[in-house]
Point group: C2
């Protein structure tokens, strides 16, 4: 039995609560929460005549555009290396199914990697990430884990990395990526680098790609769901390495695609080609989105930090990953003892939706969860455009209200701490 | 290794020949070959604001529309029974993966069923269809095959039927369907009824659904690729039976969908809702399409019949399935001894693209192939609209030319027969 994806499930649950008139602070879902750029809307509207089946991999036009997009980001690519699909999720699944061996994941990591490995009948081996940033495992722990996995009869084959990372909103540094790639090469692993948040790095120069360290064994995936807020349009791509390994994998993935989803819808291929050409309005829109994400993500992060959460400062996208370990004694009064009871309490008692760290494969006893801040931008496209154009988005009433509601919830959670503070420092 | 879908592969091969300036008679691909209805284009253009992720199963609006669509076709359905996806192919795969047991298929049958079974790690057991029509196995042979499969340790679990049928363009009669459903029930098989060609039956009243015989164990799939010529838009649906078996399967399929393709693209859901409401212009467009398919399919069928092919007269869609067994001696001169060499010769020597019966799981020694007639309607949308509006589409120059080219090819194939005829009956 394949469980319903946890991220999609919480979104549906919160939408139902909201529809029932309850107030929610929706920090549970990784949707970019922004409107469609006009030139993108126009491109789809003009592509309505494209109703024929096309090549499984995508048209030559969109493959070339995707190759150009990656080439301009430091990864020289030709169209023949690219495959388009209805979402990078579908391509990640196909890669996990096609590439030999068990799957090796950072811990925590995006909910669907482990689920996809299970669907493909593979084991998932998880390796903690270093203190600095998530998405890439600690190189020494990776090496040790691979050795012991082999001794236990496992056959680790595919290492998945996330740069920038979901759930932590951080970016591994180049030295860690280089060392992890060295370990992957030594153990003959293929590397899948999920770079769907690349254009949302607050400093885009700071995203190292594993493909520059192990070019012949690295697959890169991306899509338009995050940077362009087109999650509901299902547009993803994958870059296959040049050389025999890449060509073989491309044949396998295309074979699977041809029997499951056929191709990315033809009008959506036109949209992808338009966006991946990086025209000026697209680049400006992504820059404005990135700035908004950074402001609001950091504002929410500050609320968690204020009550004593341990949390790496976000460097990308609209996520961070607090650990409420310092509040464990205060939380115990509410029966909160682990990640699931913490997330459940926040939702049931405060209408605050976050995703338990356990669903990201993290230690379920840790008081960790993912915070996604991008659904705070507004209920209407008008509000969202205002947020995009604002230089002080945290001051917009609907965002300020959500921050205040979150603050109230967090204060009541950490009440004993507040009481303690008020005794020692009555002026706070 | 999953081979590239044969139907998609021949399409890409013929497109490349055509692009190289070679003349082709493209009878190899099951694309409906017609333009987009204006109200459908408008619906997509107006749905450009729909960029959020929605429920995996599809919105309440589109599920209700799909339920209404089936209810109006004699199958009382509520929205909760429906799941939308990027193509019914994806749902067929998910059903094959989710429903327990090996897969039982009519022989011949659509290329992707067996391939999907292989991807899901299942055996495919094939059963010949009766002389009358394809898509549904002979009930007695089915019973015998299931018994012997069980004795050999197989666990047949899922029977796939195609009504109307691809590749034969025929429709099993109600009595055969009733008897096959009885056998399925006796052997505790679930039934998946692929009804994507339902609205293209020349007599729509003549399509019996297995869901009316075994309602609690029958899944029905369909989509807009064929009746609305929207193959490149990837819009499919599945109906799950009411009751525990259906609910469990819906959970499983939704779980898989949530980890592979997430959902049908939101703007495409709007298109599906519009079409599945069966507005008057959609109904009229489908009626005109159906009439065109019938005329041209029967005209091409007549060409094969004229050279002595054995071929069931088509009753639906744009397919028929000739058997050139009567020409075997004449064909041997060209080195044609089986289905693949026949299809290869037609393509290489005459630019006539058909799909070998072997790819449909048929006996590879039989001289059978599928003919798809829907890419003859024109090279441009203008020609296709003309074909749709014509009362004599076979007389349109581009269709008449293709028929003539086909006639020439078939005559040279059957030359010994023609010579023989000219001796015995010089007036022909």
């Amino acid at each position: 039995m394949v469980a319903h994806s946890a991220t999609l499930a919480i979104n549906e649950r919160l939408a139902a609560r909201r529809a029932a008139g309850e107030r929610v602070v929706h920090l549970g879902f990784g949707e970019a929460g922004l409107p469609v750029l006009p030139s993108v809307a126009t491109t789809l509207a003009e592509a309505v005549g494209r109703n024929g089946y096309g090549p499984v991999v995508g048209s030559a036009r969109v493959r070339d555009a995707a190759a150009g997009h990656l080439s301009r980001r430091g990864l020289a690519t030709v169209g023949d290396q690219m495959v388009l699909a209805p979402g990078s999720k579908a391509l990640l699944y196909a890669l996990v199914a096609a590439l030999p061996g068990d799957v090796v994941l950072p811990r925590p990591s995006w909910v669907s990697y482990a689920a996809q490995a299970a669907i493909a009948g593979k084991h998932a081996i998880t390796v903690p990430t270093p203190r600095g940033a998530g998405g890439v495992p600690d190189p020494d722990l990776l090496d040790a884990t691979l050795r012991s996995a082999r001794m236990r009869g496992r056959e680790p084959g595919v290492l998945i990395l996330t740069l920038p990372d979901n759930p932590t909103g951080t970016i591994a540094d180049a030295e860690t990526v280089r060392r992890v790639c060295e370990v992957a090469e030594a153990h003959d692993l293929t590397v899948v680098s999920d770079e769907i948040y690349r254009d949302l790095a607050y400093d885009p120069q700071r995203v190292p790609s594993p493909a520059s360290y192990v070019p012949e064994r690295c697959f890169v995936t991306g899509g338009l769901s995050k940077s362009m807020a087109l999650g509901g349009w299902r547009i993803g791509f994958a870059r296959f390495p040049a050389g025999e390994l890449g060509t073989r994998a491309l044949d396998e993935v295309t074979g699977l695609a041809s029997e499951v989803w056929s191709s990315l819808a033809a009008p959506m291929q036109e949209v992808a080609a338009h966006v991946l050409d990086d025209p000026a309005d697209v680049t400006a829109h992504i820059a404005a989105s990135r700035a908004l994400h950074e402001r609001v993500n950091k504002a929410v992060h500050a609320e968690f930090a204020a009550v004593g959460a341990v949390c790496r400062p976000p460097q990308a996208a609209f996520y961070h990953y607090p650990d409420l370990e310092p509040l464990r004694p205060a939380l115990a009064r509410f029966g909160i003892t682990d990640a699931d009871s913490l997330a459940g309490h926040l939702l049931d008692e405060h209408g605050v939706g976050v995703l338990s760290g356990a669903v990201f494969g993290d230690d379920p006893r840790a008081l960790c969860f993912r915070v996604a801040t991008s659904l705070l931008y507004g209920e209407t496209d008008e509000q969202r455009w205002q947020a995009l154009r604002s230089s002080d988005p945290e001051q917009l009433p609907w965002i300020a209200d959500a921050l205040a509601a979150l603050r109230t919830a967090l204060r009541s959670l950490s009440a004993s701490r507040v009481v303690f503070s008020s005794i020692t420092s009555s002026s706070v």
